[in-house]
């Protein structure tokens, strides 16, 4: 009797569970839904207010750009239908494509572009601010035409308006773009191929994008950020999975379709799975950075910077950052991204050949270094900075420096590095980071090479020779001239030791093999991706 009652009860419970179990969209094998694990949490969606790459990547779905770079890093018209400039590159006139619409149904007009450009110019120190400094007028000609008048030549206007480094110029409705550039926008209305489902957004957990039927793609095939951005999904679900092992597990179990930055440690496991494809994510990779504070002793003496440079082994750094997979990294005796048109190794000798510890010690003695503590800030919660910091601590000890390794989290390093105080009063000597290869293809988006002193990036290097070369590049008439200038720039930056590149490294991306059309790029590209 008891047995029968038990069976009846459990049977009824099982049936009830079956009845209650509604189909779950994210588990369904739905070819119209893409489940993507981004590199980080999408905590907000204002690509001007913040320069985080994950925000830029999400914004590329929501907002469109006037120009977009292709895989040769050449700007191509995107929202722009046609454009022209005067021969001196001082007056630029642009005409928008017809039929462009925002997600709220309003047409994209020149006034929206002017407002968006104004906000962008206030925040983009690499290209926006220089344009603003040269600006005579930014004016609406008609609903689809706008004009930029400058008091100096600026041949790189299309690149500036379409560059992929953050902050990019995204075109927003005028009412949104009118927001103070140092305050966050409150509406996410764009004219890109997907609209943001704010009502389903759970920051730190998921972000949902829904296809925008009113989007008008260009007729050309998509090529990175240019061409027709045709999306085959009705819905793209960004699932935030902070733990790398969990993300890899979810990919193996088919719970997600695509992981943007799987951990290198787990790549061998993923490669063994026949349902998972693994490939390089960003062909432009990243440049590791040994960032030095030029304001305070002993690193305000170029001999001390050179001492470290001659002893630094990029192999050691790359081994610690990337591991044993040598296809993922190479040494970099220069500051610019390998395999791009302006790449050069001119002046890179101090970073090649046998490392010279004895020479470094001698140079330190000449410079009068007397065992002062060297404050090394290490963000231990970020694997790449932690690995670099560990190698640096060892390197400095080898050359006889008294290193003080300060283990912090990235939030604290972000605060400390802004301090210009002496290192013994809350300042610093060294911290580590890395620069996206896409930002190091030429001097325009490359904040880390700026050597303007007080207004330069953290570390505040000052070198007139470097600055002269950067200024010359802006006026270079052709690629040959650019190459010659960049070679000189590389040499000058290496001599001054603006910072020390610790090597060039790449990372993987991984996806389920039922996806096709995934492109190698510095950002995840969702157009032309399909799911079987």
């Amino acid at each position: 009797m008891f047995r029968r009652e038990f069976l009846k009860t459990t049977g009824a419970a099982a049936m009830a569970a079956g009845t209650l179990a509604a189909p779950r969209l994210s588990l369904a094998a739905d070819s119209k839904v893409l489940r993507f694990v981004p590199q980080a949490n999408l905590a907000n969606l204002d690509p001007i207010w913040t320069t985080q790459y994950v925000v830029r990547n999400g914004s590329l779905l929501i907002w469109d750009t006037l120009f977009g770079v292709n895989d040769q890093l050449q700007p191509q018209p995107q929202m722009v239908e046609s454009y022209e400039s005067t021969p001196d590159f001082k007056v630029w006139t642009f005409k928008l494509r017809p039929g462009l619409k925002f997600h709220d149904g309003e047409p994209v007009l020149s006034k929206d572009v002017v407002a968006s450009m104004t906000r962008w110019m206030a925040r983009d120190s690499t290209m926006g601010v220089p344009i603003k400094k040269r600006l005579d007028a930014l004016e609406v000609v008609d609903d689809r035409t706008f004009r930029v008048k400058l008091n100096q030549s600026y041949p790189r206007m299309p690149f500036a308006l379409g560059k992929s480094s953050t902050p990019c110029l995204f075109i927003m409705p005028e009412r949104i773009a009118a927001t103070d550039p140092f305050k966050q926008i409150t509406e996410y209305v764009g004219s890109g191929p997907m609209r943001f489902k704010r009502d389903e957004w759970v920051p730190g957990a998921k972000a949902i994008f829904e296809k925008f039927d009113g989007y008008v793609p260009r007729p050309e095939k998509a090529n990175w950020l240019s061409g027709g951005k045709r999306i085959s999904f009705d819905r793209i679900e960004w699932q935030i999975i902070p733990d790398a092992a969990t993300a890899a597990g979810a990919l193996q179990a088919g719970e997600v379709d695509w992981v943007e930055t799987p951990s290198n440690d787990l790549i061998p496991v993923l490669k063994q799975n026949s349902k998972i494809a693994v490939d390089i994510a960003d062909p432009l990779g990243n440049i590791g950075s040994f960032r030095i504070n030029h304001l305070h002793p002993p690193f305000n003496d170029v001999r001390v910077r050179r001492a470290v440079q001659m002893a630094l082994s990029q192999e050691d750094y790359m081994g610690a950052v990337v591991g044993s997979d040598e296809t993922l990294w190479k040494t970099l005796p220069g500051f610019f991204t390998p395999d791009t048109p302006l790449y050069t190794e001119a002046g890179g000798a101090p970073l090649t050949g046998k490392r010279d510890y004895a020479g470094a010690k001698k140079l330190l003695a000449e410079a009068g270094y007397k065992d002062e503590p060297i404050i090394l800030l290490v963000a231990t919660d970020v694997a790449i900075t932690k690995a670099q910091g560990d190698v640096t601590a060892d390197l400095l000890k080898r050359i006889g420096m008294n290193v003080q390794y300060q283990a912090l989290d990235w939030g604290t390093v972000g605060q400390r590095r802004a301090s210009k105080e002496p290192p013994d009063k809350g300042g610093w000597h060294i911290f580590h980071t890395w620069h996206a290869g896409a930002d190091c293809v030429n001097p325009a988006p490359y904040t880390a090479i700026d050597s303007s002193g007080p207004t330069a990036w953290f570390g505040w290097p000052k070198s007139d020779a470097v600055q002269e070369k950067i200024a010359a590049w802006y006026s270079a008439p052709d690629l040959a001239a650019e190459k010659a200038i960049i070679a000189d720039l590389n040499k000058a930056a290496m001599e001054h030791v603006v910072y020390i590149p610790t090597g060039w490294f790449k990372g993987y991306q991984a996806w389920r093999t039922n996806l096709s059309g995934i492109t190698k790029a510095p950002f995840p590209l969702f157009w032309d991706v399909t799911k079987a």
Binding site: A21, A43, P203, K206, T246, G249, E255, G411, G414, T455
Partner: protein, 337 residues
């Protein structure tokens, strides 16, 4: 925790006694709830001060790695982070007493909205863990005490030691590897709300609840065993045996009820461990709960979110302890407040 038991003069009639007991219980509960207010306010001040003194800068994180120092400064000013401590605390406190926990620095969403979004998964996980732990650990402790010194006792204690000594994340990864990746029985990660189906809801919670509950289970099983050992040596248990009562009746009706006070105490204390464990479990199993919200907020220095979540946790913890105190009177009618 519980106040000292106070003897009360017996009233005439059982109804009168019951009414008096209920009245004093309600008054006690009301007093305790009122007493939570200064506790929560002190926690608020403490957390605010701690965050103020802690290093880190949300403006630098917002501005991103390529931002200039001047940009970082302007963002800091726009967020009001350059104002003096007392001004910031005063503003925040004034809003909190009006029920406004503020707005997240990063998402620009109200903190109360973010907590509301995340509380469901955490409550589900904790409730499921609690049910799983209590329904497993108490019988384990009871049986271990009953079979004191036997291999069953040793097995239960070994399980408890394992539960104590193994970190939650290790258990989590192990469970996910075996039951999700190898056997494909359960999902690796995620959370499904109950309105999308009972089984999908439970499916997603099983592994995290086991991982989170193991330490809790170990704690309760050990305390249950110890309390039961004490109770089982009492005269009335021997009398019950002599009267021919069944083993099950003696253990689970008579003995367990008398051993319940220390068990209830440890359930309450263990709740704090559960909150701490939820932070790790939610990260390992990608559950969008309050634990992950807290970790994200701390890493980003999202002060209003940290303050809001800590306030909530401290309030809940005080309430749980109140509930435990009140439960004492259920298990032991001699206890009065």
């Amino acid at each position: 925790m519980g106040g000292d038991p106070k003897g009360r003069a017996p009233l005439r009639g059982s109804r009168g006694r019951r009414l008096l007991v209920e009245h004093t219980m309600l008054a006690y509960a009301a007093r305790r709830i009122l007493a939570t207010i200064p506790v929560v306010l002190l926690v608020a001040l403490f957390v605010f001060s701690l965050l103020y003194l802690a290093p880190g800068d949300p403006a630098a994180i917002i501005a991103g790695d390529q931002a200039t120092p001047a940009d970082v400064e302007r963002i800091r000013a726009s967020l009001g982070l350059d104002r003096p401590f007392l001004v910031r605390f005063g503003d925040w406190f004034f809003n909190v007493i009006q029920g406004d926990l503020g707005t997240s620095i990063f998402t620009n969403l109200p903190v109360s909205h973010m907590i509301a979004q995340r509380i469901g998964p955490t409550l589900s996980l904790m409730t499921f863990t609690l049910i799983l732990s209590l329904s497993t650990a108490i019988p384990m402790g009871v049986v271990a005490a009953w079979k004191h010194g036997s291999w069953i006792d040793r097995a239960v204690m070994m399980t408890a030691v394992f539960g104590f000594s193994t970190p939650v994340f290790v258990i989590g990864y192990l469970l996910a590897y075996i039951f999700a990746l190898r056997l494909d029985w359960l999902p690796v990660q995620g959370f499904t709300p109950i309105d999308q189906g009972l089984w999908p809801f439970i499916r997603n919670l099983i592994l995290p609840a086991v991982a989170l509950g193991l330490i809790y289970m170990a704690l309760i099983a050990r305390i249950t065993r110890a309390a039961m050992l004490d109770v089982l040596s009492q005269d009335y248990v021997r009398t019950a045996k002599a009267k021919g009562l069944g083993q099950g009746g003696i253990l689970f009706i008579h003995a367990l009820k008398n051993a319940a006070v220390p068990i209830a105490t440890i359930v309450g204390i263990g709740f704090a461990a559960l909150i701490g464990g939820a932070v790790v479990t939610e990260s390992v199993f990608a559950i969008p709960g309050l634990g992950r919200l807290t970790v994200d907020a701390i890493l980003r220095r999202d002060y209003p979110v940290i303050q809001g979540v800590v306030l909530l946790f401290s309030f809940v913890y005080v309430l749980v302890n109140l509930a435990v105190d009140l439960l004492y009177t259920v298990f032991d009618p001699r206890i009065r407040y």
